[in-house]
Subunit: 225 residues, 2 copies
DNA sequence: TCCTGTGAATGTCTTCACAGCC
DNA sequence: GGCTGTGAAGACATTCACAGGA
């Protein structure tokens, strides 16, 4: 029970959004309660993991029955800090930055794109996804005025560290880095990265199985993501 | 020494691309050798981890000196299966799919975009990033003709599972899923996912530190990605 | 002397298995 | 009877610390 007082493991935090999405689908389908077994199946993990993950939030299940879908949605949303919106700034309005700006999935999930910023004067003033592109020198003002807490780096690798520094200086406390470069931030800033080429390179590693079919992998279940 | 015979840990595989990128930069800067300490610094990890990771490839370092940059590049590339190109197919040519098609970082790193596919007849026949968009019914032929081993799912969540099934049926053995949905594939297929909203939700979790500044985290170093 | 390679120790995450409650 | 919540066991990953080769 006092589980909820201790620190939630990183691995659990990374799965909460998956449960959240699954529960939203379930609610739309009219489900009232859900067992760990079924939730596990829908979320692509195993049931013990679901139970342990959810136990970090407190004891919200009912033995013999399962979890209340609405309550679980509320608790997970609260734990993730999703009871309010978090406006984001996208830095770098190239292909990727523009695509992210156009991607509706952010606003829908409580992360409205509040500002687009670029260092290229040719891009400043243009309109992308309904937002005027601002010069990066305006970052401080935009962050302050729009209450931006999250910055997305969608620049080439070369500029990434400087952009990160500027975001931090402007008061942004969370950064999502899409640039294929190692970026360093102060301890109190949270940094995550999405490295597209890395993902393909990892796939390449596991794909070589064609060439070395000797090493049979001992997996029973289907793989899931 | 016989380290190289055992299975390389997943966590190590996920870091090899980072070392690879770092080593390419070092080579461009004219470096011949590199110590684990310096490589660790540049890659944003610690030195013991670098040494243990690299030891899985064999004993390619020289005590008292460090690692030969070129040799390490070769060994990592070989281990990741990057000594050849892996053509990819992108399924779903919306904002994200189009951005990925335009993103030069794939081709540069040995993953040329070989085919674009969509289910929407209105998009079929149009040209995106220099590629004609094909109907998804042509997937089997495209995969066979172009030797495609990797598929990228860039559709909305709803279509993702069916696309995955079609990719597998067409002979694709590795899939990168950008759709915010759980997708299941047979064991022999490798699946990875990139979930953009999930990343922001995780940032939101750690960002709430504002509201609950009680729980001080015991981290000394700077955080890095 | 310097830096790798690696056992051993530690820490984190997953899975098992079952007591306990509905 | 069914399903949660959780100690305990096991697997995996990181970090330490140092023997040993260049």
């Amino acid at each position: 029970m006092e589980r909820s007082r201790r620190r939630i493991p990183e691995a659990t935090v990374a799965r909460l959004p998956v449960y959240l999405r699954t529960l939203l689908d379930l609610r739309d389908d009219g489900a009232d309660t859900i067992s760990s077994e079924r939730l596990a199946e829908l979320a692509g993990v195993n049931a013990a993991k679901v139970r342990k993950d959810l136990s970090w939030l407190g004891s919200y299940g009912t033995r013999g029955v399962g979890y209340d879908v609405d309550q679980l949605l509320l608790e997970i949303s609260r734990e993730l800090g999703l009871t309010r919106d978090w406006p984001v700034a996208i830095v770098g309005v190239g292909n990727l930055g523009a695509a992210l700006a156009n991607y509706g999935g952010f606003g829908d999930r409580g992360f409205p794109v509040a500002a687009l910023v670029d260092a290229d004067p040719a891009k400043v003033g243009s309109v992308v996804a309904g937002h005027a592109v601002h010069h990066i020198d305006e970052l401080d003002d935009l962050v302050a005025e729009l209450g931006i807490a999250i910055g997305i780096i969608a620049t080439p690798a070369v500029g990434a560290q400087e952009v990160a520094d500027r975001l931090v200086a402007a008061g942004v406390t969370s950064i999502l880095n899409f640039a294929p470069a190692v970026v360093t931030v102060p301890t109190q800033t949270t940094l995550r990265k999405v490295d597209l080429a890395l993902e393909l390179q990892v796939l390449s590693f596991y794909g070589r199985r064609d060439s070395l079919r000797d090493e049979l992998r001992g997996v029973d279940d289907e793989s899931v993501a």
